[in-house]
Structures are given as structure tokens and as C-alpha cells.
Symmetry: D2
Subunit: 301 residues, 4 copies
């Protein structure tokens, strides 16, 4: 036979879930989208159509709802861990379970200035995400947290100069431009019992504050400063990946109309966009967490 199956996996994606938890009149609201992916002893289904090891993806969906009912859903991370361990411990043919949970954020509507007990308003595109991989062998557990689609923009405090100038270069250097991006962060958590929501809040604040205050010589430099601040803010985090597209605001040329555009009028564009990626990890040679130490602090204003 000329072919062989070198890897396979399958699962259910976009299992959406609303959980309401009641504390008397005060209700908590959690909305998640869950992806389940299993790898293991499933080759027969591919090779011969023998499904005897196959857990139907419809059953995975049922499982997510049963587990959400019978177990607290406190954070994407903790629920993903619970679901992952369920699959590896329930089915001996499952060698690895990968669970991704994406939480949509809701805030309480304020009525007369007071947060409402059971009415909520959407908090936008920002999502709290987690991916957990559990390997049956050795019970290896990999937990990541993250934030996706966190949109930020600063109107000044961003330069871009000193880059390669050659025959392909037309971009003028600038000491003052708009810097807009959609932060996509994923961090690895060393401790599977961390306070995941607290980590999320600390890192989110560190990312936002550093973005705001850092005087940027390049998107790359600000990305690194933000990653460093996130590691500083949350000791449970071992490493962080930041992806920051450069969502360009292009200065409109108003000279044809006899006007000076002094960084006032821009065109927001979606494409093409720059795409800056960095992985930053805690340096184990020196794990002191001196807040605000080093070069980064010096670059703050």
C-alpha cells in the first residue's frame, strides 16, 4: 500500500455554553466557546471505518454540558483542565486531549450607578482564552492563558526610524505616529492551581499600562516591554507570546487641497498590516522580579 497515516486527531469545535450561577438575587454569568480535540488510538476509523474506539463528537458536546453543570466554571483555564482530564481518564484510547476555551466578557449594567444583580452588557471583542493539553502518559499537563482581540491605540509616543533604506524603501521616517494594535497574548502557567482570573487581570493591566506609557521606538520594542511587564506582574507565568499586528493609521495627504495635516487626519486600514511576534520567557539565571528594573523602566516617561 502506498500510503500511511502519520498523525490523526479529531474533535468538536465551537461548543457554546452559557452558565448562570445564582447567589440569591445576584446572578453570575459565564459564556464560553469550547473546542475539544483528541489524539490516540483512532487509526482504525481512518483505515477501515471501524469506529469502535471513536467517541462521537456529539458525545463530546454532551460531555461539555454535563461537566459545566456538575463542576464550577470559574475560569477558562480551570474548566479546560477539568474537561481535558475527563477525556484522558475516561477513555483509555485517548492519549492526548487538547481543550481550548474562549470566554466572552460581560459587565453588569449599572442602574442609578449601581451594578445590576442580573442584567449585563457586552464588553466587546476582547476574550479570555485558555488552551490545556493533557497527556495520559506521565500525566503531563500544559496550561496556557491568554487574551485575544484587545484593541488599543495611542495617538503619540511612537517613533519609527533608523530602519533599512534601500531601493525598496519609500516609507518616510517619523518621530511621531499613531500606534494601534490588537493585542493577542498567550502565556504558559507553571502552576495548574494558580488563580487564573487574577493572573489574567494582572497581565491585562500590565499590558495596557505598558502600552500606554512606553515611549516606542518600534512596535517590536514596545512588545518586548509589554511582555517583560507581564512576567513581572504575574510570577506564575513562565513565558509569554505576544502577537501585535500593526493596524496602520495612514496620514492623509492634504497638500493637494492647500492644507497642512499636522498629525490630525488619518485613514485607519485593515490591510495590509504589519505583524510583530515575540516570545519572552523568564530568565532562569536571574529570577528576581525587580518591578520596574532595568532598561524598560528607563525608557518609560
Amino acid at each position: 500500500m502506498p500510503a500511511k497515516l502519520s498523525f490523526n486527531a479529531y474533535g468538536k469545535s465551537k461548543v457554546r455554553l452559557t452558565k448562570v450561577t445564582r447567589h440569591g438575587k445576584r446572578h453570575d454569568l459565564t459564556e464560553l466557546s469550547v473546542d475539544v480535540q483528541l489524539a490516540g488510538d483512532f487509526a482504525d476509523s481512518y483505515l477501515t471505518g471501524d469506529n469502535s474506539n471513536v467517541v462521537a463528537t456529539d458525545s463530546m458536546k454532551n460531555t461539555v454540558y454535563v461537566l459545566a453543570k456538575s463542576h464550577p466554571v470559574d475560569s477558562p483555564e480551570s474548566f479546560a483542565i477539568h474537561v481535558a482530564k475527563h477525556f484522558t481518564s475516561t477513555y483509555k484510547q485517548v492519549e492526548q486531549a487538547t481543550i481550548t476555551v474562549e470566554q466572552t466578557r460581560w459587565g453588569r449594567i449599572k442602574v442609578g450607578g449601581k451594578p445590576h444583580t442580573h442584567a449585563f452588557v457586552g464588553c466587546g471583542n476582547e476574550k479570555h482564552v485558555s488552551t490545556v493539553t493533557h497527556d495520559r502518559a506521565g500525566s503531563k499537563l500544559l496550561v496556557t492563558g491568554g487574551v485575544a482581540d484587545l484593541l488599543v491605540l495611542k495617538t503619540t509616543g511612537s517613533e519609527f526610524r533608523g530602519y533599512v533604506r534601500d531601493e525598496y524603501t519609500t516609507l518616510p521616517e517619523t518621530k511621531d505616529r499613531i500606534f494601534a494594535t490588537s493585542i493577542d497574548a498567550t502565556w504558559t502557567l507553571g502552576d495548574a492551581d494558580a488563580d487564573f482570573n487574577n493572573c489574567y487581570d494582572l497581565i491585562r493591566t500590565a499590558l495596557l499600562e505598558t502600552f500606554a506609557d512606553h515611549h516606542s521606538l518600534a512596535v517590536q520594542q514596545t512588545l518586548y516591554a509589554m511582555a517583560e511587564a507581564a512576567l513581572d506582574a504575574c510570577p506564575e507565568v513562565e513565558s509569554i507570546r505576544l502577537g501585535m499586528p500593526n493596524k496602520h493609521r495612514l496620514l492623509v495627504d492634504l497638500k493637494p487641497f492647500g492644507l497642512q495635516n499636522q498629525n490630525e487626519i488619518f485613514v485607519p486600514t485593515d490591510e495590509p498590516h504589519g505583524n510583530i511576534i515575540g516570545y519572552v520567557e523568564r530568565d532562569r539565571r536571574d529570577t528576581s522580579k525587580r518591578k520596574g528594573s532595568g532598561k524598560r523602566a528607563g525608557r518609560r516617561r
Copy 2:
């Protein structure tokens, strides 16, 4: 000739715009998307390809940027009025200009609890919108304000009973369900000099607070109460249209798994969705604006 041109219009859509206004170190940020549509004496372009009356859509785009530079952009409504009047007053062939402006909302990043001078974070999908139509003849001006994509959800305080039961009915009646919708509101403003942003804030608050507090016997009933509250809140508004899709959260049947689902676990669905629409206008027979008067108040808790 067997055909005639019975109506025509043309324009430019999605002219996106960022405006930065500086007050010393403190910057204001405004982001808009502008649509321009003109009707008038343009038939020759359709019938013979004679473009001598045609204002190129590229020039419309330029015009939007020039006007944004040379004029304050205080609200979608005021900018739409300015752009509409520009086209009807500049080109005699333009009989009607319709300008739609959609504002994306940004909030200031807080650093150490204080709003930042020049760094912003996205406020989600919610948009402040306005459509202005200016007719050259008689200088008739129609101004609407609006909010789009304002996502809300309440976990209780919503019933649905007493509807038609016939052979097509399978939905069980309920005294307690989740009520989730994406509010789409458009209001007509009688006064072209109103404080449009203040109207927006007042109406937005009225919509949110009424959604939260109203005990709902039907989406229709809550929609009407919200519309009434909006008219109460802002005297400049003559009428309001509310569109509220019913973004169903379906109760998961957990009985097959030996579990009782006491309004805890739901599936959020996007389709199909209910779609409830109402137009409510100020009753001119009695224009007293008795806050909280009448039936609606009685239904509040």
C-alpha cells in the same frame, strides 16, 4: 426604447477616518466611517456615459477628509450635517445628499487608576451612528441618531406565555428565561442644533436601565418600554425605532444524563433568531414628559 431610468443615486461607502485633536498633552480621538450618497441630475451618466455632472466618488472621499480637517468632528450627527450641506450647497446638480456616519467607541486606558492622556482601549462593537438627509429644495434636513450592536443579556425577569398554541407550536411556555439581544436603535431629532452626544448618552442609559429593570412578558413589551423611556429621557427626540433580535439561549436538556437543568446551562445560538421591531413616537396629543408615568412604571419592579 423599452426602458427608462426611474431612480438613481451613487456615492462612496466606508470612508474611514481617524481624527486626533490636541488639547496640550491631552488628546481626543475620534474614529468614523462615512458613507456619502447623492441623488440629483445624474441620469446622463447612466444613459449616455456623459459624466459632466458626476462628482467622482474619489473626490467625495477627498472631501470627507478635507471637511474633517477644517471643521470640528464633535458627533456623528453634527459632522453628517456638515458634510450633507457641503454637497448640496457646492454642486447644483445634487438634489439630495444622504450622509451616514458610524463612530467606533474608544475609552481611555487607565494607568494607576487615572485616565491616560493619549492611550485608548476599544469599547467593543457598539457604535454611535447617524444618518442625515439634506434636500436642496426647501433645505429640508432630516437628522437621526442611533446606537448599533449594543449587546445586552438578563438572566431572569423574562417570561413568554399566552401565545398562540396550534398545530405548529412546540415551544413550552416559560415564566423564567434568559433574554439576550443586540439593541439597534434609531431616533429622529427635531432640532438640528441639539446636543447630540448628550442625547446619545441619555438614550443609551434609558435603554440599558429599562432593559435591566423591566419585568418582561414579551420582547415586544420590553422593546416598547425601552422606547418610551428613551422618549422620556431626551425631549429633542421625536420618534424612535428599535430593532431587537431575540438572541436565543436554549436550555440544554440534561435529563438523558440524569441531571436537572434548573436554568443553569444554556446554548447561545446565532441562528435562527427572532426579530422584533417597533416604531414609537411622541404622542402630540399629550406632550407632557411625565417621567416614569403610566403603565410602564407600574410594570417596573
Copy 3:
């Protein structure tokens, strides 16, 4: 009371449906999305929460499936007529039913050059759409057919010159540009028993062929020629609306790199885009359908 309900309507949107019709081994596949909207005696639901006249939107969904099972689904138009009449004839409180049906197109996979009996491949974004409004009073029936999202592009045969040049104009005139658009057509059908699919095919062909062959002096002019050709092609059509966004392909300036760009390299852009609209109706003063007569033909090459 300060407010009154001036209009209301409600319904169910995005009721998606797959119908398989078997002719021995050969299967036909139809996929639709149906929107139902009802107007009538529903004010009590808004004003007092009395739902006794309300047909639940869940029951509308059920109805669509029951009608799809018990009745042929030959075309979007014929099914929309059937569903609309069902609602006005079944419920006396329904004064007007508006049904929109959008059909996704599938083609048969060819195996060894022969169309397969039961395997299909998606035909892209193009949709066959219909909106039917049935008024109970007088049994007034309004039927439209249409095509949406039909993407076309021609690499030459398109000029744009002679338009207004003033202080807002920077666009250079051109005798040769790319013309790309997404055709959105809606036509009114005088006869509720027309062969709707045949109309669709005839109009679609007329639109495509005219777009291809017409030498364009303006998008407006080509739009009119296409509309005229559609009326010529299908006598049952009384009028047609065409919406044709100008999906610009911008010539890349390669001079900074010492290269001449002779209409070879362009940037496709989504925004901003021109937006050209025309309504063309059959001229009742002269209903002869002289194919290819008049100015349009002369403009063909």
C-alpha cells in the same frame, strides 16, 4: 401617555433548510435561508404584554420546515409565495407577511466528466434571492427575484473621464481601467406564476454578457445597459434595481522603483468603495422588446 406605537412587525430570521428530493438514484439538493416577518394586530404584545395574538417565532420556524416537507421547493420565489400565503390565510391577525428566501447554489461534482447523482460542490457566494409580500386585504402579492454577491471583473473596456474637476479632485482621468463589482440585482415579477428559475437564468446571463461586452464610459452607464438587457431577456420582469459597488483595483505606483506599470499590477481594495445604484423599469409607452435595439447595442463592440 406621552408615546404611541406607530408601527410594529416581528418574525424569525435565518431559518436554514436543506431539502433532498430523490428521483431514484439521482438526488436534487436545495439549501435555503428563510426570513419570516409579520405585521398586523400585535400591538397588545407591545403595550401590555398580552401575547394572545402572537404566533411564536419558534412556531414560524416549525412552519417553514413543515411547509418545506409538504410542498415542493422549486425556487426561492415559489416557496416564498407559499409561505407568505400560509401565514396570511392561517392567522386572521396577520395583515401582511413578508418572506425572504436566499438560496445557496450547489453544482454537481463531475466524476470522469459526468455529473454525479448525489455529490455536490459549492458554487461560491452567489445567491438566488426572493422577497414576497402578501397583503391580506385585497390579496395583494408583490414578488421579487434577485441575485446577490455575483462577483465580476473585466481587465479592460472601461473608461472614466469628463467628470467634475474642482478643488476636491485628484483622480486622474483614464481610458483604461479595471472594472470590478459585486452585482446585486432585484427584479419585480408581474406574474406570480412565472418560471422563476428560468427568469433567474436568463437575467443572470444577460447581466454577465452585457457586463463583459459593454464598453464602459462609467459604471453608471454599464449598470443601465445591464438593466436594459435584463428587461429585454425576461418579459415577465417589470423593473429591476441594480446595486454595483465599485470594487476598486488601484494602479500601483512603481516609478519609485524605476519601473513602468502599464496596467499590470493593481491593489484590490475593499474600502472605501464606490456605490452605484439604478432602478430601471419597462417603459409602458413602448413595450416592444426589440432585442439589441437602440443606443445600447451601438455601444457594444
Copy 4:
């Protein structure tokens, strides 16, 4: 310092491009979206804001246009190779260039049955994609081709039985269901001088024909048969990855309405969806390419 940069990369995404190639009156049309990503000696930009090694992403965009002008754009694969090698050979700081090219498909409009010389109609969502990675060290070149978003559906010839039944299972077994998916295929090409478009056509045909003819006991099994057929069809391909979401069509329960639904009426759903993945490689122990040999052929009807 508590942190270190463990990996970095940056680039430009969604550089969209239209190329028109003229052969007398007959024009060819190519539309691409190009992503450029570079890794190499860029850490200083992250660590200190020193951009002296940074090729601006704006210059990457310019480069794509210059290369598209000065070099044939015959296939996504060949253009991606050309762009990748340009970056690694032009800039010594670039250690690895990864280029992804996605081609939108256009077909010629037929006028009077004949393909037009310069007018085109969109072919839907399906895309021809390629990712090329070029490592400067050792000039290692990895070339993949692929097809994305190829939507297919069969109305019968698909079973799903014999899977795990436990307390989480509610799905009934079936000998006849609809099988719908959106094929996402990526193949590795051993030869950087292969006829890439021919490979694409051969593989696309093999995927479609096998999907149509294979009697499916599981999505997994059909996926494997399709992968095997692709390897059979194109000797230059070394391995293939198939991702096939199970885009469920759910049988509508019509019993409450006194009707039997004999696999006629279904609800198409987008979420949740199954997600089946397989990697299949040519087995080097037996590289004979016996067309139609082995188990797969036996399973064909």
C-alpha cells in the same frame, strides 16, 4: 534582567495583488494575497529599539509589487518561492523567510457559449494556497501547496455506526446521513520545480471524485481515502494534511406535526461542528503508485 527574548519574527500580512497579463486581446487575471514573515537577527529592535537591521514592513509590501511586476506569477507556489528567496538572498540578517500566498479563483464569463477574452466571474470561496519557507543556512526550501474552503456535500453514501456508547451518548446510529464538509488540504512538494498548477488540478479532482464515490463509514475513513487518492494522483506530493470539519445537517423532527421525515428536511448548522484531521504520507517502503489499488478501491462502488 528577569526576561529573555526566546523567539521573534515579523512581517506584512494581506498584501493584496491583481496582475493582468496580456496575450494580445486575451488577458489573464491573477489575484493573490501575500503574507511575508521574516526571522533572523532582529533582536535589537525588541531589546533596545535599534532598527538598523529592520526591513520595514512597508518595504516588504513594495517588494511584493516589484517582484510581481518583474517576474511571472504563474502559481502561488512559484511566486512564493521567488519572494522567499529574494528576502533571504537580499538581506544577510534574514535567516528564514516564510511566504504564504493565497490565490482567489476567477473563471471567464461565457458570452454566447465562448469564454471571454477579458471578463471574469468569481469562482467562490475556494482558494489555491501555498506556504514556502526558505532557510538561508543550507538553502533549505520547504514548499507546500493546498486548497482551502472547498465546500462539498453528498446526500447519501455516508454511515456512522459502531462508535462508543456510554452515559454521554445520545446520538443515534445511522446508515444514511448527509455528509458535508469544507475541505482544507495542504500537501508537501518534494520538487521545487514541479508543475504546481497541474498538481493542484490533479489533487483537487482526486479529492472531489473520491469524496463523491467513496462509501463512507466515518468522516475519518473518507478523509483517508481522499488523502490516498491525492497521493496516487500526483507523484510530486510527499505527504498531505486534510482537515475536514463535519458541517452537520441535522434531521428535523417532524413527528410533532404528524409527518415522517425520510431524510428529506435538514437544518444546516455552522456550530458546533466536528473537526477531523489526518496527515497521510507516501509509504517509502513501497512507492509503486498503483492507481486504484488496495483497500480504498474495494470500498468504491
